[in-house]
């Protein structure tokens, strides 16, 4: 089979995956992700557990050690059928806390500690890189198998080159579908669906080869069983230690492997999916394992001696001339390798960016300035770079070790590495007393022991550890030999490392937790994680409002993207019963925001960012202590009490708000009554005083008498006008006004208003600048009321415009169904600080006599305009006082539309 043909097949397959993934992304973006999020797809995506190591290596494993290969699948089977115990809790906690990776999970549980996140990340990268290299190796190897002609002469192919292109291509794919957007819940429908397709391909391929081996080469199951026993070697005897140890190890790995955590927890959308996977995933593993031993046995029988059993899945059909089957098998292996690399590099890159790069960057930036810049782009770029970095590391590892035999064991070595996170993870789920210090110490001890007793020695003698050290221990201390710690020499190296690293890890973790005190935030998180099923809702860690929503929105926009952040803020505001984009900064809101942000940048980073934005004194230790003990106490009682107290505090807050509102209204009402009293008593004082004078003064000149009578008369009129205004305002405010709608020419109204207002300070000559063309607009409105508004504005101008050459400019503008009339004089205008006040009742800017009114004019104008479906506003910066009156062209049409912004019931009739 030609090499080029093979490359083309691969390319076609990858393009197919690309197409499937982007179709999935598109339909997810349109919100039609239903079929993408089925339990079946979820189960299939879990098959990233089965890597090329499974696909090719299991047969080789079986050929060498008999049934031992099964342990790698029996462990996960036990974990899944017992899903109710661990997985259900893990998945629920992960989903509710928007956990982005296993490092994020551990970091979040132990007080959102970045240190722990970093340790777990480093550990996972160290364990994951060789594992990725193993996949690259298997792909390169399968290529060469195909490109070797039957005589056994290798064609000119450079394995490193193949590995390089595969790594580059996978990096591209992962970047394209893994970092398309910084999703709030860090889910990647495109990747998941591609993995699911690959899962089907690799299962079908393995079963096809198995069926071929059992029914075509052999004579069916019975025959195979006979052949198995015939082929059985003494080494196939099950070894109790390894058997038990490996079942345990693989059970741990299925929980702790970063790529498994990614598909199992991060991509999970629903508990129901886990319920299905509890039997369907063991079934998948069952089917993947069923034909492993038959293929191995047939391979051992048929293939020439010395053939590499690791490649039997591929070489057996090839040797027997089944090129099509071989190609399918090749694609199966390719699928297994690529799916693992994609998910692993995605998971590792998320951890590297969230727990190493971004925190460092934040720290560096915090010392320079506080502007966050575009976090979103930064995080995405870091994520992309990290993917390239992880794959690059894998490639470099592959070329350096040169596909040595050391790689074959790397799968189990990686398992032991990631298993170090188990104590901290289980502690996170089940033990409230587990502390950050304990977890950090345990992880460090476990990781160090793993590196020393398994990882470094795996490179072979004299690479990192000298042969002498391996033999005699460091400094001649034989009890420190990597394969024989503390004199335990008889164990299998893998089990030896597993035993010491995990048991000391757990011991240090427990003792560390016993002797240290957790921080308040740790205790809150602990309660939240461990009692996940007893209470819902996020942890309370923000106690009092310390930042403005205006400050938080821009920050959230940088991370979540503008539209999503705004949608989130307005949804939160709505939850609080407010409109607009700015919710109250309640602890609940801050928690929700932190949760949302942590979906993008991880819990620790989100906490740090919010802390930074909210100010230096984010949450004081006392606050946290209070919350922690309070929360802990409440949780001790019962979940219901918790819910009750939350409801109670919510009700209390509402009551407080209502009370404040009432008080405000009452203050306003008092001020209003006091004002009315003043405005009424003032003219009455003059009237009473002068009438008493006229009654009890005998000697009074006729001039005096006339003068006093005039004063009494004027003040009576003032009193009447005040009462009229008050009545008018009351009617307008309560919407009891009767509008007489009719068609009228705007210019006529303005003419009438100018004539009427000329009597005010009639000696002043005002120059009127008008545009007859603009004013010739036919409108339908209440002509009398509209004129009243115009008169008021014009009279005010006559009273207050201080210019020696006073002029009034009237501009009319039409915008669709809206008419705007601007009245601009050339006086001093209204000072900025008074502009907001002028439409309030009794808001006279100067003393009363000059104005000659009670200060109700503009308040009445505003009410009239609201009744007329429009508004009046002050327009600053026009070179004088400028009032803009806006109203609908046709009020009758305006009132019939239901979404008009009328404020009064009368106008909305």
């Amino acid at each position: 089979m030609s090499f080029n043909y093979l490359v083309l097949t691969c390319l076609a397959y990858v393009i197919l995956l690309f197409f499937v993934a982007s179709a999935a992304e598109r339909s997810a973006a349109r919100g039609r992700a239903g079929w993408l999020r089925s339990p079946l797809v979820y189960t299939l995506s879990l098959s990233v557990y089965c890597t090329a190591w499974t696909f090719y290596g299991a047969v080789g494993y079986a050929a060498r050690s008999g049934l031992e290969f099964m342990t790698i699948y029996l462990g996960p089977t036990l974990v899944f059928v017992g899903w109710w115990v661990i997985l259900r809790k893990l998945v629920r906690i992960g989903r509710e806390n928007r956990v982005t990776s296993i490092a994020d999970m551990i970091s979040a549980r132990y007080g959102k500690s970045n240190l722990l996140g970093a340790i777990v990340t480093l550990l996972c990268v160290a364990a994951g890189t060789p594992y990725i290299a193993l996949q690259l190796q298997s792909i390169a190897q399968s290529f060469t198998v195909f490109a070797t002609d039957p005589t056994g002469v290798e064609l000119a192919t450079d394995r490193n080159l193949i590995a390089f292109w595969v790594a580059a291509g996978l990096a591209l794919f992962t970047i394209a579908f893994g970092t398309r957007n910084l999703d709030a819940n860090e889910q990647h429908p495109g990747v998941v669906i591609a993995i699911a397709v690959e899962a089907v391909v690799k299962l079908l391929a393995l079963i096809a080869v198995g069926v071929f081996a059992v029914w075509i080469v052999a004579a069916g199951p019975g025959d195979i069983l006979t052949r198995i026993d015939a082929q059985a070697l003494p080494e196939w005897q099950i070894q109790p230690g390894r058997w038990t140890g490996l079942i345990l190890l693989s059970a741990i790995a299925i929980i702790c492997l970063p790529r498994m955590f990614q598909v199992l927890v991060v991509e999970n959308t629903n508990d129901q999916h886990l319920a299905t996977a509890s039997w369907a995933f063991p079934l998948y593993l069952f089917l993947m394992s069923l034909f492993v031993l038959p293929i191995a046995v047939v391979g051992l029988e048929v293939m020439p001696a010395g053939s590499n059993p690791d490649m039997f899945v591929l070489t057996l059909p090839l040797y027997l001339g089944q090129d099509g089957l071989a190609l399918l098998s090749f694609l199966g292996g390719f699928s297994a390798a690529t799916s693992m690399v994609i998910v692993a590099s995605l998971a590792l890159a998320t951890m590297v960016s969230n727990h190493l790069v971004v925190p460092l960057w934040l720290k560096a930036r915090a010392s320079r300035n506080r502007d966050t810049g575009d976090m979103r782009l930064l995080v995405l770029s870091v994520r992309r770079l990290s993917i390239a970095l992880v794959l690059g590391l894998g490639y470099v590892y592959y070329t350096i070790t040169g596909g040595s035999a050391a790689l074959a064991a790397i799968g189990l070595i990686a398992f032991v590495g990631v298993a170090q996170t188990l104590p901290a993870l289980l502690g996170a789920l089940f033990w409230r007393g587990a502390s950050r210090t304990g977890a950090a110490l345990g992880l460090t001890v476990g990781a160090a022991l793993w590196v020393y007793t398994l990882f470094l020695p795996s490179f072979g003698p004299d690479v990192f550890l000298s042969a002498q050290l391996m033999e005699q221990g460091p400094f001649g201390l034989s009890w420190l030999r990597p394969y024989g710690l503390f004199g335990v020499n008889t164990l299998d190296p893998l089990l030896h490392a597993l035993f010491w690293s995990l048991s000391l890890n757990a011991l240090v973790f427990c003792v560390g937790s016993f002797v240290t005190f957790p921080s308040p935030i740790e205790r809150v998180q602990a309660a939240l994680f461990v009692d996940i099923f007893d209470r819902s809702g996020p942890a309370r860690s923000w106690t009092r409002p310390v930042a403005e929503a205006e400050d938080l929105l821009p920050m959230a926009q940088r991370i979540l993207g503008v539209s999503e952040a705004q949608a989130f803020f307005s949804a939160q505001a709505e939850l609080q019963g407010k409109t607009g984009f700015l919710p109250d900064i309640t602890p609940e809101f801050l928690d929700a925001l932190e949760l949302k942000l942590s979906g993008s940048v991880g819990a620790a980073t989100a906490h740090a960012m919010l802390a930074q934005s909210v100010g230096t004194a984010v949450v004081s230790v006392e606050d946290l202590m209070a919350v922690a003990s309070e929360t802990a106490q409440i949780m001790e009682y019962s979940a219901q009490l918790e819910a009750k107290s939350e409801e109670l505090s919510r009700t209390a807050r509402k009551l407080r708000e209502a009370n404040e509102m009432l008080q405000k209204l009452s203050v306003q009402k008092d001020a209003f009554l006091s004002q009315i009293s003043h405005e009424l008593r003032t003219p009455m004082t003059s009237i009473r005083a002068f009438s008493e004078i006229m009654m009890d003064t005998d000697a009074m000149t006729p001039e005096e008498r006339t003068h006093f009578a005039q004063i009494i008369h004027d003040e009576s009129i003032r009193l009447t006008r005040l009462l009229d205004d008050l009545l008018d305002l009351s009617v307008l405010e309560h919407g009891q006004v009767q509008l007489n709608l009719g068609p009228v020419l705007l210019s006529d109204l303005i003419d009438k208003a100018i004539t009427a207002s000329n009597s005010v300070q009639g000696d002043r000559k005002f120059r009127m600048l008008r545009s007859r063309d603009g004013e010739s607009v036919q409108i339908i409105t209440d002509a009398g009321r509209m004129t009243q508004v115009f008169i008021n504005i014009l009279s005010n101008a006559r009273k207050y415009c201080i210019s020696d050459d006073p002029q009034m400019q009237i501009k009319v503008r039409r915008q669709a169904q809206l008419v705007e009339v601007d009245f601009i004089d050339n006086g001093a205008g209204i000072p900025r600080d008074k502009q907001a006040l002028i439409f309030e009742k009794f808001s006279r800017l100067t003393d009363s006599m000059q104005a000659g009114g009670a200060g109700l004019g503009l308040a009445i104008c505003r009410e009239i305009m609201h009744n007329l479906g429009g508004d009046i506003s002050y327009v600053p910066g026009q070179g004088g006082a400028a009032f803009r009156v806006s109203f609908p062209l046709d009020l009758s049409a305006h009132m019939s539309t239901p979404d008009s912004h009328d404020t009064t019931p009368a106008a909305a009739e």
Partner: protein, 105 residues
């Protein structure tokens, strides 16, 4: 005439569900026990009867059949149990009722 027999149980369904939860917790332990069974095979020194296969060679085929049968049994048991347990996921048992809809859902 004997009166019709009434069940003394009030909440049969939730009682059944809780026992099912117990069962699913036990299932992995049972599975592990069975998976470890091949370790307890007879060896030459402990044999009291004639071994089925020639001494010295492991009974791999037999063990494989046993393991795969146990495996299939576990899958079947998990399938049946997960059907019952779905109800526990559908109707949250206790405080889960207070589960607020997540903002983005």
């Amino acid at each position: 005439m004997t009166p019709p027999r009434h069940s003394q149980f009030l909440a049969r369904d939730s009682y059944r569900l809780r026992r099912l939860m117990d069962a699913v917790r036990l299932l992995p332990a049972l599975g592990l026990l069975l998976f470890l069974l091949p370790l307890m095979r007879r060896t030459e020194t402990t044999q009291t009867v004639v071994p089925p296969s020639s001494p010295g060679t492991p009974a791999t085929a037999q063990e494989a059949v046993f393991l795969f049968l146990v495996w299939a049994g576990l899958v079947l048991a998990a399938l049946l149990m997960s059907r019952g347990l779905r109800h526990a996921l559908d109707v949250p048992t206790r405080a889960d009722e207070a589960d607020k809809p997540a903002p983005e859902e």
